[in-house]
C-alpha cells in the first residue's frame, strides 16, 4: 500500500492535511471531506464483489482510518482481471450517496403521492406479512408476483418460493436479453448466458450490430474488445449511430434502423452463395442446411440495399472479411436486444451467421464456459404451486423459458388467468425498465399491496405501499457468485463498512419476512455466514478463505475445441439447426425472414436508446461520483437536421412521441455521429421521483416515450425501438 513519505507529505500535503483536520471548505462527494492520504493512515483492504451492474466483478475496497476510500479490481478475478469499470471504481459513491433511503417507509396517502411515514422494521415487516397472509387466504399464494434484478434477489426469491408463488420475474429477460438466448437455443441448443461466452480477446474479426461495447461497459467484454483492437482484429460495426466501437472499426456500416435482419440475411446469402462458409463444420454438424440455403437464396446484397441503405459492395466485402478470419470471427450476439418484436428471429440469424463461420466452440468465437461446482443450500423442497405461472397463459409464447414481466402486468390488469394482487419489487425500477408507463401504473393501482426494496427512492418506490431500505453492496453479504466463464471461480460479497442508518441487507429482510410468514422450515440458518459456510464446505472451501481472498479460481478446463472441448448441440436434432423444425411446428419461420417495420412519419425520428459507461440503467444517477461524470443525458441529433430545424447544439428541446407524450427538456447534441432518420438517448435519466434530489429533472427519459412496444411472438419480449419522436423547441430551460 502506498504511503506518502513523510518528506513529501510535509511539502505537498501539509496544507490539505491541516485543512482536513480543521474542516476543509471543499464540497465533497464523500460526506465530510477527509483529504488526501497521509503518513500513518490506517489502511484496510477488504475483498468483495461489485454490484454497480450485474457483471459482479471481484473487487478490493480500501478503508482509510475506518472510512471508505476507494475500490479497485481484484487481480485474481477472471472477470475484472484487477481492473474495474468506471461504475465499479465509482462504487464508493453508492455508499456516500446523500439520496439513499434510510429507514422503512409506509405510504401516508394515495399511491404515487410520495408521502411517507417512517416506521420501524418490525412495523414494516409486520404490515407486509399480515397483508401477505390475508392475500394467501383469499387468493392463494400465486397472487403474489416478485420482480427482481441481480443476485441480491436470491434470498427474497427463496422466501417467495417457500410462500408458494411461481410468479418470479425479471426485466432482464423480456426487456433485455431473452430473445438473444432463445435465438441461440433454437440454433445451437445453448444460450449465450451471462457473462457472455464470447471469446472477444482472440477474435480476429469482431462484428457488432448495434452493440456499443465501450459505451456498454460490461467489464470483461470491454477489456477484451481493447485487447482485440490492440491485436489488430478487424472490427465491423453496423449501427445507425457512429458509436465508440465504430470509431475503432475497419468497416462502419451506417445501417438504417430496424433492418439488421436484412443485413444478416444478405451476409448469409453471400457466405453461402460464394461458398465462403465453413463446409466441414456445416457438413458435420448442420441440420437442414439445403432447405436453409434455398430459403436465403433470394436475399442478395442487391435486395438488401434499398432495405438497409448499405451498398451491396460493402455487404459483400464485409461478408468476405468475416469469412477470411473464420472460425475466429465473432458476430457478437449483443445483450439488450429487445428492439423490434422480431428479436428472437434476428438473434437466431446472428446465431446462423456464426454457424456458417463455424465459430461455435472455437477460439475467437463462442467458448464453452466453465463454472465452479458449489452445491445449492440443502433447503426442504418448496411447496408445489397450485397454479402455473400467470405470465404466459396456454404457452402463448411457446419459446419463453423464463417469466415475463409484461405477462405479470397484463394478468394484473385483466385478472386472467387468475388475479395478481401483490407485487414485491427488488432492485428494479419498473417504471424505467418496462415499456408503457401508463400500463404499469394502472396495474399498480389494481394491486392490494406493493412493496419495494431499494437503496434510493426510485420512481417505483414512490408508488409502493411499503418501502424497505436496503444496505448497499459494500455493507452486506450476498449469495456466492459462481457464474460460468473462462475459468471456474467463486467470489464473495462481504461487508466493508456498516450501513449508515437503518438499512438492512436483503438476506436479513428475506429471512425476517419468512419467519413472520411461518416459513421457518426454509430458514434453518440464522446468519448469512452460516448459509455461506454451509454452501462452501461441500465445495472444499471455507468462508474464512473467501473472506481473505475474495475470489477462488479453480483449475482451467478446456473451453474451446482447440483446447480439446467436444462439440455438442443439445437441440432436438442434436445438430446446429439451420432449419428449425421446432419453429415450423409452431407456425413460425423455420429460417428467419425479414419483415419491414413501420417507418417514422414525416417530421418524426425513430427513438433509439443505449448505454453510457458511467451509469447502469436508472439506478446510478444519484451516485455523486457517477453523477458528476455524467449529470444528464443529451439527445443525439444529426448536425444537418439540427441546422435545418433552426436549432443549435446545446439548445433544450422536448421530445414528443407519436402518442403525444412529451418528455422533460433535454439538450441537443448536434453531431455527425448519427443518421438523419433517428435520434438517440442514453437510458436512465429524466427522473421524476423527488427524493432523487441529485438527478430529478435532469435530462429526459426514453422509457416515458416508449408507449408502444412490439411483442416477440416466439418468447414475449417487448421490442422498444418502435417509437417515433418529433422535436418541440422552446423547452424553457436556461442555457
Amino acid at each position: 500500500m502506498a504511503i506518502l513519505s513523510r518528506r513529501r507529505f510535509l511539502k505537498i500535503g501539509a496544507g490539505a492535511g491541516a485543512a482536513a483536520t480543521l474542516g476543509s471548505r471543499a464540497p465533497s462527494w464523500a460526506g465530510d471531506f477527509f483529504g488526501p492520504a497521509r503518513p500513518g493512515d490506517r489502511l484496510e483492504r477488504v475483498p468483495t464483489y461489485c454490484d454497480l451492474c450485474f457483471w459482479k466483478c471481484a473487487a478490493i475496497a480500501t478503508t482509510r482510518n475506518g472510512r471508505l476510500w476507494k475500490i479497485e479490481g481484484n487481480p485474481e478475478d477472471p472477470l475484472s482481471r484487477g481492473r474495474l469499470c468506471p461504475r465499479g471504481t465509482g462504487g464508493v459513491g453508492a455508499y456516500y450517496d446523500t439520496d439513499r433511503l434510510r429507514t422503512p417507509l409506509v405510504r401516508r396517502r394515495n399511491r404515487g403521492e410520495d408521502e411517507w411515514v417512517e416506521v420501524t422494521w418490525d412495523e414494516a415487516l409486520g404490515e407486509i406479512a399480515g397483508r401477505l397472509q390475508r392475500l394467501k387466504a383469499e387468493h392463494g399464494p400465486e397472487a403474489l408476483a416478485f420482480f427482481s434484478h441481480g443476485i441480491g434477489g436470491n434470498f427474497l426469491k427463496h422466501t417467495f418460493k417457500a410462500f408458494g408463488t411461481p410468479n418470479l420475474v425479471a426485466p432482464s429477460y423480456a426487456q433485455c436479453r431473452g430473445p438473444r438466448d432463445v435465438g441461440f437455443q433454437l440454433t445451437f441448443g445453448e444460450d449465450v448466458a451471462t457473462p457472455e461466452r464470447t471469446d472477444i480477446a482472440n477474435a480476429r474479426c469482431l462484428v457488432l450490430l448495434g452493440s456499443h461495447l465501450g459505451e456498454n461497459m460490461h467489464n470483461s467484454q470491454v477489456q477484451e474488445f481493447a485487447d482485440a483492437v490492440g491485436a489488430g482484429a478487424s472490427v465491423i460495426v453496423a449501427d445507425p449511430r457512429f458509436s465508440v466501437a465504430a470509431g475503432k472499426a475497419k468497416h462502419y456500416l451506417p445501417i438504417k434502423p430496424g433492418t439488421d435482419l436484412a443485413l444478416l440475411l444478405a451476409w448469409m446469402n453471400v457466405l453461402v452463395g460464394e461458398g465462403l462458409y465453413d463446409r466441414e463444420f456445416v457438413a458435420a454438424h448442420g441440420h437442414g442446411f439445403e432447405a436453409f440455403a434455398a430459403a436465403i437464396a433470394p436475399w442478395t446484397p442487391e435486395w438488401a440495399f434499398p432495405v438497409t441503405g448499405l451498398e451491396p459492395a460493402a455487404i459483400r466485402e464485409t461478408a468476405r472479411e468475416m469469412a477470411r478470419h473464420r472460425p475466429a470471427t465473432l458476430v457478437h450476439p449483443g445483450r439488450h436486444v429487445t428492439w423490434y418484436g422480431d428479436d428472437a428471429q434476428r438473434s437466431r440469424a446472428i446465431a446462423l451467421v456464426n454457424a456458417l463461420l463455424g465459430s461455435w466452440g472455437r477460439r475467437g468465437g463462442f467458448f464453452f464456459p466453465a463454472s465452479f461446482e458449489v452445491p445449492k443450500y440443502p433447503y426442504p423442497p418448496y411447496p408445489h404451486a397450485g397454479r402455473p405461472p400467470v405470465d404466459n397463459p396456454d404457452g402463448r409464447y411457446p419459446f419463453a423459458d423464463l417469466g415475463l414481466t409484461n405477462g405479470i402486468r397484463e394478468a394484473t390488469l385483466s385478472g386472467r388467468p387468475y388475479p395478481i394482487k401483490a407485487w414485491f419489487v427488488y432492485a428494479t425500477n419498473l417504471l424505467q425498465a418496462l415499456p408503457n408507463q401508463e400500463e404499469t401504473l394502472r396495474a399498480i393501482q389494481a394491486l392490494d399491496l406493493m412493496v419495494v426494496v431499494d437503496v434510493v427512492p426510485s420512481e417505483i418506490a414512490g408508488w409502493a405501499d411499503v418501502v424497505l431500505p436496503e444496505s448497499v453492496y459494500l455493507e452486506r453479504y450476498d449469495d456466492l457468485n459462481t457464474e460460468a466463464f473462462r475459468e471456474p471461480f467463486v467470489s464473495l460479497r462481504q461487508p466493508v463498512v456498516e450501513s449508515p442508518d437503518d438499512q438492512r441487507p436483503n438476506w436479513w429482510i428475506a429471512r425476517a419476512l419468512a419467519l413472520r410468514l411461518g416459513l421457518e422450515a426454509w430458514y434453518p440458518w440464522r446468519t448469512v455466514e452460516e448459509y455461506l459456510e454451509a454452501r462452501l464446505a461441500p465445495a472444499g472451501l471455507s468462508l474464512a478463505e473467501l473472506k481473505r481472498r475474495g475470489v477462488v479460481v479453480g483449475p482451467h478446463r478446456p473451453i474451446t475445441v482447440e483446447e480439446g472441448h467436444a462439440l455438442e448441440f443439445p437441440t432436438p436434432s442434436g445438430k446446429v439447426e439451420f432449419w428449425s423444425n421446432q419453429l415450423a411446428e409452431h407456425g413460425f419461420d423455420p429460417v428467419p425472414r425479414y419483415t419491414p417495420h413501420p417507418e417514422p412519419p414525416p417530421g418524426y425520428f425513430r427513438l433509439l436508446f443505449g448505454r453510457a459507461p458511467v451509469h447502469t440503467f436508472s439506478r446510478t444517477q444519484t451516485n455523486p461520483l457517477l453523477a458528476e461524470a455524467m449529470p444528464e443525458n443529451e439527445v443525439w441529433i444529426n448536425a444537418d437536421v439540427v441546422r435545418r430545424s433552426g436549432l443549435a447544439n446545446g439548445d433544450a428541446v422536448r421530445l414528443v412521441n407519436q402518442d403525444g407524450v412529451e418528455s422533460a427538456p433535454i439538450r441537443i447534441k448536434a453531431t455527425e455521429r448519427i443518421r438523419t432518420d433517428c435520434v438517440y438517448l442514453v437510458h436512465g435519466f429524466g427522473h421524476t421521483a423527488k427524493g432523487l434530489r441529485r438527478t430529478v429533472g435532469r435530462g429526459a427519459s426514453d422509457a416515458q416515450l416508449i408507449t408502444r412496444y412490439a411483442v416477440d411472438p416466439l418468447m414475449g419480449g417487448t421490442g422498444m425501438n418502435v417509437n417515433f419522436v418529433t422535436l418541440r423547441a422552446g423547452a424553457g430551460k436556461e442555457a
Partner: protein, 179 residues
C-alpha cells in the same frame, strides 16, 4: 534521475472515464473539480468519420510555464521524476499558473491553492502506477521513465507513431498519444 511521462494508446481507449473517477477517489478531489478528463475529437462527415478519444491531464512539461510564472515558488519541478507539483503551503492562489497553462490542467482548490495532477507521486514513490493508469480497463495507458531507453514508454515511442498535444506551445509536454 527519472523523467516520468505517459504514453496513451488512443486506439484502445473507449473514453469510459474510469481514469477520471479513479483520480477523484484516490486523491479525494472535491466535488466539481477534476485533475484528468476525456476529450473526443471527431472529424469528417457522416458516415465517413474518424474519432480520437483521449484521456488528458497535466503534461508535466519539460519547460513548464506554470513553474516559471509562479511568484512564490510553490509551483516547482520535483527532483523525483521531474514531476511538476504545487506546494500547497507556499501557494497564494494567484492563478498565474492557471493562465499560463496551455492545457487548462489546473484549478484552484476550494482550500485556496492551485491543484492539478501529481502523477500520483505518492503511488509512484511506492512503486505503483498512477491511479488512472492502474485502473484503466482497456490498458491504454503506460507510465514510466522517458529517459530510460529500456522503459515501456520509451520503447513504445521508438516503435509507434505518436503525437503530443499543442507542441507549438513550446512547453515540451511529456504525455504522448499513439495514433
Amino acid at each position: 534521475m527519472a523523467r516520468f511521462g505517459m504514453v496513451i494508446d488512443t486506439a484502445r481507449c473507449v473514453g469510459c472515464m474510469d481514469c477520471v473517477i479513479a483520480c477523484k477517489t484516490e486523491n479525494q478531489v472535491p466535488e466539481g473539480f477534476h485533475r484528468d478528463w476525456i476529450t473526443t475529437e471527431v472529424s469528417g462527415r457522416f458516415p465517413t468519420l474518424s474519432m480520437e478519444i483521449r484521456t488528458e491531464r497535466c503534461n508535466h512539461c519539460d519547460e513548464p510555464p506554470c513553474v516559471t510564472c509562479c511568484p512564490t515558488g510553490a509551483s516547482h519541478v520535483e527532483e523525483f521524476g521531474r514531476i511538476v507539483l504545487v506546494n500547497h503551503e507556499q501557494c497564494i492562489g494567484c492563478k498565474a499558473c492557471l493562465a499560463s497553462c496551455p492545457y487548462d490542467a489546473r484549478f484552484v482548490h476550494p482550500d485556496g491553492y492551485a491543484d492539478k495532477c501529481t502523477f500520483c507521486i505518492h503511488r509512484v514513490e511506492a512503486g505503483q502506477d498512477p491511479a488512472c493508469v492502474a485502473v484503466c480497463p482497456t490498458r491504454c495507458m503506460h507510465f514510466g521513465d522517458l529517459d530510460d531507453p529500456q522503459s515501456e514508454v520509451s520503447r513504445l515511442l521508438q516503435s509507434c507513431r505518436h503525437h503530443a498535444l499543442l507542441p507549438e506551445a513550446g512547453t515540451r509536454p511529456r504525455i504522448f498519444y499513439l495514433s
